[in-house]
Subunit: 414 residues, 2 copies
């Protein structure tokens, strides 16, 4: 019998209300029906659900891609459920025993702690960190002995593990899989056993690992968690998943202006996805914008400015968001200079080749790079585009040099 | 450079002498050249080699099939090398976590100890147990924590493990392999790392597991052991590997007469193999018999009597062997009764159907079995074969009933 059949009409309405919120923007819920049952159970027993997010302690820079799950967690938190942030420090401390993967380098206790703190500082911009449960899986995993590991390994088959996409692929390509790699999904699954997690969140790339939680909870006679998989957010290039290594990200620690500018560079086709996944606007507002864009009653530029402002507001507040927008308008839309421009004191030659000046000021790495930038129309002097790579100029006080779209520098002579 | 190139002429002779002994009757030596190097090293450094045999603590009944490796170990022991008997008690204590295999049922500490003692008592009939090193792998394996297990697992690939024949087969048939099963060969390999084994012995069915020792010793920067694989001895049926479950075995604890009789039932074609693998006769003697049988200058019956007597002598001494042989001759070759026949007191009807008598005396399970035995010529009354299944007889004092070749019973009336 399904849990929700025991709900009163009012409780049923509450269950449906929560269900609608949680399932918004989600890529997959496995199994869908179970999510309703979990919510129903929590309402019936007046007991919060335990919502888990696993974190890799080796890469603590949080960007907008991460906030997709954070925003979803926030929805659960706002409805009184318990967030379990799980730092996979045991994994981080082990590193890669084969020494082949530099991504899995061994972390010290201090690094783990430092990285965890960095996470939490940033997460605090989305979640109420005082209500969050923090867990380190070394707490239980480091205590397992060989016999217990064997017992754990006895609860899963080799074939089941080989189903993971990247394992399957490597087997097909004849690329080696080191046996210890099997244990990362097993650990993640066992964490859910220990934490008695009701719902585990993750990106769609976590599909296999999160289902491990269901597998092991069942083997340990626990209630099975629901997997709630969020879409992966493409980065500014509109192609790859947002990531630090691809340099297509907006970090949530970036300054308001940088953040606003980067958000304005998101491809139009991704705008609705960003509204859905990366903002905390109310459902109805998101719906209104989506319909407006589709019906072309909202101009894409206006929508994108709203998106950028909303994102800045989430991480820096309303005032900073307003300022970032004004500055953006004056610089980019009116082609005027920004209000505040960093200045530099010049003590060199007054007469200088433009390419040499760019290199000396550290604005370009080499003369050839500087030339290329000029040829691409990327250099302006007092607002005027420079076309001649051989140009020689006379330095004068308050000369404003612009590189690319957003980098300005004012030269001071005294 | 090969070790043996450093040997003096005399030392080289000694190396070749040992090498000839050790390689006799062996199915495979991996790698062959390394065995020579190991012996050479031991001669050069005047240091005994460490020869390992792993034992499963769950099945302590030792039969002639086991003695194939024991006899080989004895040769090493006689040349001053150290025998490492490794009781796989850690494995035994774990059992099968999936609960599917009854063969791998969990043993208690007491059972492990009892079984180990049973082994050693029996091994003492072949080896000098005072010079043997005893090891229990729980000593080091039970101390490994999860992190150390992961480090261990990082030293082998999934593909390498799947190369094991039975794994490969099960994958092909879609039969599940539980992940913990991967750890049995890993443990066996790691044991050799800890014990710094030079040579590991086993039947050819241990091929994969023993090579694990080489694999892990290399990963731990140790000298790699040599695998010395002995042929599997077929049982009395001449078909299957000798094993308790197939009931085709000669236990080394069986009484002299039973042992002699069973040995006489070995198929002729296996005689030479038994001489080679299951007796401790000198090489030249084995060679003489082999040539004699091939040239037909030795009668197979005489050879088999020598084989049986030799086997009994190994486990019960010369006198018992002689007695067993004499008794066998009188019973089987002269078709006479044995000296001592167990008697039974008869109080039933004097006139009785032969089939009923056989069942009542517990000599046959059912009338239909008794009939079949008569039809096969397996029943004799006072030495005369009975041909009629409907025969009715009159019981008289001292009537001797013979069932099969070796079972006699004398009926007493008072």
């Amino acid at each position: 019998m399904d849990m929700w059949e025991q709900l009163s009409a009012e409780q049923l309405k509450e269950m449906e209300r929560q269900f609608e919120i949680y399932s918004q923007g989600v890529e997959d819920i496995i199994p869908l029906k179970e999510l309703k049952n979990k919510i129903a159970k929590s309402i019936l027993l007046n007991k919060p659900l335990k919502i888990k997010l696993g974190l890799d302690p080796s890469a603590p820079d949080v960007h907008l891609g991460h906030t997709v799950v954070l925003n979803k967690l926030k929805q659960f938190q706002e409805n009184g459920h318990i967030i379990q942030l799980l730092i996979g420090d045991f994994t981080g401390k082990i590193g890669d025993p084969t020494g082949k993967s530099t991504a899995r380098k061994q972390l010290t206790d201090e690094e783990v702690k430092h990285n965890a703190k960095t996470y939490f500082d940033q997460f605090g911009k989305v979640l109420d960190m005082e209500k969050v449960e923090l867990h380190y899986n070394s707490e239980w995993l480091s205590r397992l002995n060989f016999e217990e590991v064997i017992q754990l390994a006895g609860k899963i088959t080799v074939a089941r593990l080989l189903e993971r996409d990247d394992f399957e692929e490597r087997i097909a390509l004849g690329k080696p899989i080191s046996l210890h790699e099997f244990f990362y999904p097993i650990m993640q699954g066992y964490d859910s056993v220990v934490l008695e997690t009701d719902i585990e969140l993750g990106g769609t790339d976590q599909y296999f690992n999160i289902l491990m939680g269901r597998h092991f909870q069942e083997k340990f006679d626990k209630d099975k968690q629901v997997a709630l998989l969020m879409p992966l957010l493409e980065g500014l290039d509109g192609v790859d998943k947002m990531s630090k290594s691809k340099k297509n990200y907006i970090g949530i620690d970036e300054n308001p202006q940088e953040m606003y500018g980067k958000a304005m560079s998101i491809p139009d086709v991704l705008m609705i996805k960003y509204f859905e996944l990366a903002t905390d606007l109310p459902l109805e507002e998101k719906q209104r914008i989506k319909e407006g864009l589709t019906a072309e009653t909202i101009h894409p530029r206006d929508a994108k400015m709203l998106l950028s402002k909303t994102i800045v507001k989430m991480y820096h507040g309303a005032e900073a968001a307003e300022r970032a927008q004004q500055q953006f308008i004056s610089v980019f839309q009116e082609r005027a200079m920004p209000d505040e421009i960093p200045s530099i004191h010049w003590e060199g030659e007054k007469k200088i080749m433009i390419v040499n000046l760019l290199v000396e000021l550290g604005l370009q790495k080499s003369k050839s790079e500087a030339k290329r930038m000029i040829e691409n129309g990327g250099i302006r002097l007092n607002g005027e585009k420079i076309g001649d790579t051989q140009l020689e100029i006379m330095i004068e006080d308050n000369l404003i040099l612009q590189v690319g779209k957003r980098k300005f520098i004012q030269i001071k002579m005294d």
